[in-house]
Amino acid sequence: MDVQLKRGILDVCVLAAIRSVDSYGYQIIKDLKPYVELSESTLYTILKRLEASELLTVRTAEHGGRLRKYYHITAKGLQYIEEFKQEWKGIMSIYRFIAGEEESHG
């Protein structure tokens, strides 16, 4: 798959994984596992990028006597997901046309 395209999709996947509830690194990897195999270093890079673009915020909280980083989606992050969905609606209709699945217009 095209590198740029894949990067864009992975970004949204990670945002979607923290959309409804704040999550942490290992949980994100587990949640995405059925869809994409994400290595730790890839996830780290994505989280850094999303934080820099203010699509998510990070907080450190205590968990079981140690520290764990939790990621929280921002309003901008939620909007980013919506924009992605809109964009892909267009792409999907083009896909259906290419695949020949579009209803024929007599």
Partner: protein, 202 residues
Amino acid sequence: MDKQGFLAALREGLRGLPPADIEERVAFYNEMIDDRMEEGLTEAQAVAELGSVESVIAQIAAETPLVKLVKEKVRSERKRGGKGLTTALLVLGSPIWVSLLIAAFAVVLSLVVAAWSVVIALYGPALSLVVSGVACVAFSVVYILLGNIPGAAFAVGAGLAAVGLGLLLFPACNALAKALVKGMKKLVQGIKSLLMRRKGAE
């Protein structure tokens, strides 16, 4: 390998990164191992799931921009010089390694340029063969108008042969160019891992 061993090796391998980055990466992997152990994996299993330290370091090197590594190299060399050496040595010594770095960069750049000129030198003849071949075939019309049929046949034959040869050369050029791009990616990768590891060893 246990957790401490993995994290120590990771820290060692990432020495080319800014110190704050190293700590953050190590903390990230530390958390990843702890979370796996919390799920019931043994320490060794949790570490094994992350892959070998070498592959983790290589992946981080691949994802880190070369510019960042060079900047950190410059920064750390300055700092080291300031700590250990006299001011005179710092002034004299720092430009030496800076010029060495520039020289190394120049060598790499000239190698890249040389490699690309070979590719261009191959594309040139291929293109000129095709163009001259087409011209040759077109010129056969003049022979026909002059009534020189053997001449026309020769021109067509020679032209087609030239076009064919030229077209045959193109895939070879493409393959070479592709190999070159691959080689260059590897070169950058090599430079990166050199910058990443060597900082403390020098």
